[in-house]
Structure formats: C-alpha cells, structure tokens
Homo-oligomer: 350 residues x 2
C-alpha cells in the first residue's frame, strides 16, 4: 500500500523522521506492506516544495543542515507554504495520504499546528504529529473531525517521545478504564532538579540544559510548567475525556527558590519532582511535589520520564522512558504511521 | 463475530476469567463486535462438560466454589476430560474457536499444557494461555504450528499478569529490535526480600506469603527461582529469539542466607532483588543482585514487578506493575482474545 506523506515542519524532529523512514523502508514494506513516499515539505523560513512523484527528503534535510534552502532541492515550484502543501497532498491518488506535522509548540493557541491538522483532516488526510498543541488544545474538535472524515489523528510523540503512552492504552489495554494519572513528563525540569540535588544553582543548571539543546531557548515553556501542562492536558483529554486546554491546568513551575527545597527534601530522604497529575472529572495539576523515596517518580534522574496510570482493572500500570532524544520522537511518528496502516486493514476487514 | 471458547483449567484464574468475560460482555460486543460463548470446561479433579449451545461458566464457577462438581452444571455428558473438550471445540462452526488454557505450571516439561496447546493449534483453534510453560518450553514449535494453522498462540498472562509485555512490544513498538531485558518478575520473592529488609526472618516471611495464597504451596517454584526462570525463558524466546527452556537459565534462588545480605545491602544504600535478565545470543540469568538505590528495580517493593527492555530505537523502556492479582491475570486472557479478534479483521483486510 502506498502512502504519500507531506512533512509540515522540517526542524530537528522532521529531518530525523525523514531519515528514520529511509532506514526502516525495508521493514515497513516487509512487515506492513507499506511504501512511504514524501511528496511535500513545508518549512517556516526555508520555503516549501511539492512533487506528486516524490521528493528526496533525506537530501533536503542535508541541504538545510548545510545552510541551503528547499528551493535548491530540485522539486518543481508552485507551492508557497504549508497550506499549499496540504492542499496538494489532499489531491494525491495514493491509498493513504498523511500529514506529518512537526512544527513547534505554540502555547498560546496551538497555531499554526491546529490549522494544519484541521485542514488535513477536513480534506480526508490522516494526521500524525509530535506537536502537543493540537491534542492539548482541541482534542475533541479534531478527533470528531477525524472520525467524520474516516481518517486518523494520532500524536504518540506528544508525551514521552516514542515510548508508547496513547498507543499503550489504545492497543494493549482494551476495555480498561483509566481513572487518573501521575507522572514526570518534562525532561528539562527533571534534569534541573537532579542538578539542584547535586549542589548546582538554578541559573547555571538551566543554562547548561540550554547549551546542550535540551531546554527550549524560551525557558519559560519548561521551567514555568507550560510544557508539562500541555502534556497533562493532552493526557487528560485523551485518557480521561477531560475536554481541557493547558490554560485549565492548575500550574506551578520551578525556579531559583526550588534549589533549597530540593536539597532540604534530600535530608528527609525525599525528592522534589515536577509532577503532572489528573483524576477523571478534576482539573489537571502540574506542580513540584516532595515525594518519599519509595515513590517511583522520586527515583527518576536526569532525562527519565514516567507515567503512572491508575486503572480500574490492572491497578497502577507504569511506563517509563529512561533515555530520550530526537530519534525517539521521530519513532513516535513512525509508530503512528504504522498504526494508520494497520487500522486500514481492520477497517477493510470488519 | 461469534467466538466459542473452551476453558481448560478452571481454578482461580479460569473462574475469574469466566466472570470477567461476563462483566465485559457489552464492551466486547460494542467495541469489538465480539460475542463469546463458553462451550466447554475441563478440570483435573472436578470433571468436564461440553455443550455446543453454550454452558453457564459463571454458574459452574459458583458450583465448584460451593464444593460441587461440573456434572451438576446441567450440561450434557459425553466428554471425559480436557482432550475431549478440545476435540469438540475444534468441531464448532463458530468464526473463532479459542482454547483458554489456565492449568498450573509444570516446571518439568510443561505438561499437560503443552499437549493441550499443541492439539488445539493443530486443529486450527486459537490459543490464549496464562500458563508460562508452553511459551517457556516450546515457543518455536508452537508458534510455527500456529502459523502453519493460520491461528494465534498468545500468552500475555505468562509474565507480569495483565500488564502488557508481549502485546506492548508487538502492538506498540513495531520495527523496534529488543536487544536484552532486566526485570523483577516474581512477586513472592520480591515480597520476601522486602520483608527481610524490614527485619523479618526468611521462614516466617515465606510462610506469610503462603498463608496469603501469594506463594505456591511448593515454595521451590518461587524461592529457587524456577518461576522467574520460566518467565525469563518465555521473554528470551519471544523477544530475543532465544530458543531456550527454563533449564537453560543460569538460575540462583534466595534462601535463609539472603536475609543478612539483604540487610547489609541497605547499610550500603543498596537493595537485593531477584533479577531476571538476558541479552540477545546469551543464556538468560536469574539471580539475586545487589542494586544501587538509583536502579529502578531497587525501588520495587512487595508485589511490584518491572521489566526494563533495552531497545535499538528507544533506549531503555520500562513497564511496571505496581499491583498484582487474579483479575490482572484474567484480564491478560481477555486482552489476548481481543487481539485475536482484531487480528482476524487485519487478516481479512490485507
């Protein structure tokens, strides 16, 4: 089965996805009868290309990284931005048409990602995204739109990179009801808290994260808890039918003051962690909490993330990511793409 | 779609499964278009029944628990044991025919479970089992048999009860290669080790587990590491293409001597845990290990289990079960049943 893909957003994640797709080409064909062809790429600052016969996404990634623009990638002109690229994708005759959305999070209104997703779903294109915005701000609207169009809206990469969270619940825990969750879902703040415990001060610990490219240039997304709040909203919307946005999350971040608390907690054999939590029917919460050391979340160091799901059938089930990174997020997009392929087979078979 | 089920083994797990099936009847019909009918039940000591029109499995569970026998369940006679029940299942005209195998583990040769599974797969019946034996002793043979017959052989309940391990890898981590694993997979020994850390002696800690029905009457399965070895073999066979049996596992259990080690370890801020591990191409190992407290496995208390999967794409991914129990194991069978239903749709659709 042929899938035409439009990559909207072509930063670190989008480019890593293009390469991963190439690396796994053989496995996709062999194990899932899936052949993927990238037909369009749209970036914010480096132009857009579309070619119904396919573009060289790996070559384009190299060009951009060498300081070039998409115009040099040799594809015909005629598209000027993300909107054009999605419209052209919708005209593809391929069995599967998929928007791969990897623009960065806008915590104000999830734009332009939300519009990209809406346009694609309306045009009966499937959507996979690593952007938390659309699912955190507009899950009900977009999932209803996807259902009405007979396509999928998937976002495994929105929480804990490629480690399955949404796919875990949907694919492996059928008929199980999730009652709530607690988790450490932001790597930057966890890394900073670990550094504070080791005696570093807040500002250098944050600067270190930014220098390593782990923290956002705009640190407030991480340290003020907005990233965790977007993830908490996404989890609450999908797992608990929350109908919330990140602005509905009761949110407290971390700051220079947290350093003394983090070190004092250790003298009580406790750890301070930025915890995101929610119960069915309640407002999600993001705040630093002092946890006893036998709390699984207290044991998370550095980049590690974990989510404890409280279920009606299996008690508490925990999924953890001990390592994180670009490849993981790119893999989340790939696993969603495979879920779409498998879902097509089911839809045809039932 | 109608599924006829034969329950072979009708102890605590089998009876809890019969009730869970009844409790989830509506969700199975609504979400998966799946109607399950129990047509046969076979026990070791309380007889066997079969009725092509269906038997009252919940009623039969109540009868047995009240000290009765299956003969009183009112189904026509004509079957004398598990073999007859599977043969009758194979004659069913239902779209899905499924053996639900829940006999207890035989660590010598996995019998009679292995024969039950073999007969059913040969007769083109699907198999779901919570018994570790068949997958630990004969995964290659039985999975090849299933493939040749065009049916499924599933065993989610063999490791970590209903918390997804095999389904996690198969359904949510497509194209990912597992390179190895480390885990705490036996609840009884973890409970005993926790009790030793709290100052209890070995014998009373074990007796306590047996009184609560957590440890096997034959304690050697747990404390000598045989249960963990069977799980390690099952994991190695499925995730690492191991081709091993529990006898190939390099196995060390725990005993009265472990008490002083467990307490000394705590003075070094460490914990002793019974760890099951394997790498691709190597012999699995089960042995008590002294772990630093920042090892996630060191933090597991009481009944908690965890498995760390070492992957080529996602680094280390961890799945934990903080609570365990009968309902969890029964749910594993149900989730396998749903996987069979979903797989049928895929097979028809591709």
């Amino acid at each position: 089965m042929l899938a035409d893909l439009a990559l909207v957003g072509f930063g670190h994640v989008g480019r890593r996805f293009a390469r991963l797709l190439d690396e796994r080409r053989e496995a996709l064909a062999r194990d899932f009868d899936l052949t993927c062809r990238v037909t369009g790429i749209a970036t914010r600052r480096h132009g857009a290309i579309y070619n119904a016969g396919g573009v060289d996404a790996v070559g384009a990634a190299g060009l951009l990284e060498a300081g070039g623009t998409l115009a040099e990638a040799g594809a015909p002109a005629g598209v000027t931005g993300s909107h054009d690229v999605i419209v052209r994708l919708a005209e593809s005759p391929a069995a599967l048409r998929v928007l791969v959305e990897t623009t960065t999070l806008d915590i104000g209104a999830a734009e332009p990602a939300r519009s990209h997703v809406r346009i694609a779903l309306t045009a009966r294109c499937h959507v996979v995204t690593a952007n938390k915005g659309p699912v955190a701000f507009a899950y009900r609207e977009l999932s209803a739109l996807a259902e009405g169009s007979g396509v999928r809206f998937l976002f495994e990469g929105a929480v804990m990179d490629g480690v399955p969270v949404f796919n875990l619940v949907r694919e492996t825990m059928p008929t199980v009801r999730i009652e709530g969750f607690r988790g450490v879902v932001n790597s930057t703040t966890n890394h900073i808290l670990t550094a504070l415990e080791n005696g570093e001060a807040f500002a250098p610990a944050l600067a270190h994260m930014q220098a390593e490219g782990i923290a956002e240039a705009d640190a407030s997304l991480d340290v003020d808890g907005w990233d965790a709040a977007a993830k908490a909203a996404a989890l609450a919307n999908v797992l608990l039918d929350g109908g919330v946005t990140p602005r509905d999350v009761d949110r407290t971040g971390i700051g220079p003051d947290t350093a003394s608390w983090a070190r004092e907690a250790m003298t009580r054999a406790c750890r301070v962690r930025l915890v995101a939590s929610a119960r069915r029917g309640s407002r999600p919460i993001v705040r630093p909490e002092e946890l006893p050391q036998d709390d699984l979340l207290a044991g998370l160091r550095g980049m590690a993330n974990a989510l404890i799901l409280d279920t009606d059938t299996l008690g508490r089930v925990v999924i953890c990511q001990l390592d994180g990174g670009l490849t993981h997020t790119a893999y989340a997009l790939l696993s969603d793409l495979i879920a779409i392929r498998k879902g097509c087979a089911v839809a045809a078979g039932v």
